[in-house]
């Protein structure tokens, strides 16, 4: 299973994401933002956390329109898998691959701590390694994680079972405490919390392992 981790100027979770994917059995290549094509045979694109392009204009806005961004969108349109964590989630909403937007946290503060989440659906390659409703703990580290979507979009997300993770208690003002959402074909996941920072006993928690193992296992079998 081949994964490509995209690197923008200002990305800072790219290595963590690569390590988590590699430990789960993926063959990982890094893809620079100026590249206009993904490495051949890429099954999964992972868009890491950080502060791509200094968060200029809006978080993720410039990264979404970079040369590699165009390739990532084409990959998703072909039915390819994409995982976006934190700034990666912001990038995916800016690309229009996921609905809604991430706004400034309601409390205006940067939130950097471990958060309890609920697995809202197990119907995806990303979440099938969990139990429905299971509580997991992933670190969060963001200033703009306040998920917003209009009522119509929220209804669609609910009806189509596309909310992947919710915060167990209100964290940043996100509507319906949404922490992560899936695309309509369930192959694109964006989430603000960091599963790659809970993927080794040294991290103080390993709740993120099931996401990477499940994903790599599914894609390797496909």
């Amino acid at each position: 299973m081949k994964a490509a981790v995209v690197v923008f100027p200002g990305s800072n979770c790219d290595r963590d994401l690569a390590v988590a994917l590699r430990n789960a059995g993926a063959e990982v290549t890094m893809a620079w933002h100026k590249d206009d094509a993904l490495p051949p045979g890429t099954d999964l694109v992972a868009v890491p956390g950080g502060f791509s392009f200094g968060d200029y204009l809006r978080c993720g806005a410039i990264a979404a329109r970079s040369p590699i961004g165009t390739a990532v969108q084409a990959h998703a349109r072909r039915g390819g898998y994409v995982l976006g964590v934190c700034n990666g989630f912001q990038v995916l909403t800016e690309m229009g691959l996921l609905p809604g937007a991430l706004m400034r946290n309601a409390g205006l503060k940067f939130i950097c701590r471990e958060a309890a989440l609920r697995v809202a659906t197990t119907n995806s390659a990303f979440t099938e390694g969990y139990e429905a409703g299971q509580e997991v703990r992933f670190p969060v580290a963001h200033h703009d994680g306040n998920y917003f979507a209009d009522d119509e979009t929220l209804a669609r997300l609910r009806d189509e079972d596309r909310v992947a993770f919710t915060y167990a208690s209100s964290l940043n003002g996100s509507v319906e405490d949404i922490a992560g959402v899936l695309s309509a074909n369930r192959r694109v996941l964006g989430l603000m919390p960091h599963p790659e920072r809970a993927a080794d006993p040294g991290h103080g928690g390993t709740d993120g392992l099931a996401l990477f193992r499940g994903l790599v296992g599914q894609l390797a079998a496909a």
Partner: protein, 79 residues
């Protein structure tokens, strides 16, 4: 030709920063501020000489990059 783009959060989208500014104004003794909305202004220097063409171009820029129309609205002034 110069264009000024004003980007604001849409009505109905909560603006936590504007709300913090409103409270700060109140604590400074400025009473009677019912609401504050914070946005951004983007100034563009354009080579276009034709006003209508410039507006069409800037509108495309807003839709593609300058505003996130999921949460933001924009206003264009050409001078």
């Amino acid at each position: 030709m110069k264009a000024t783009v004003t980007v604001m959060l849409k009505n109905g989208v909560l603006d936590p920063q504007g709300e913090a500014v409103r409270r700060a104004l109140g604590s400074l003794g400025f009473e009677g501020v019912h609401g504050v909305r914070q946005g951004k202004v983007i100034e563009l220097d354009l080579t276009a000489a034709d006003r209508a063409a410039a507006e069409t171009e800037v509108r495309a820029m807003c839709e593609k990059l300058l505003a996130n129309t999921v949460i933001e609205s924009y206003r264009i002034e050409i001078a």
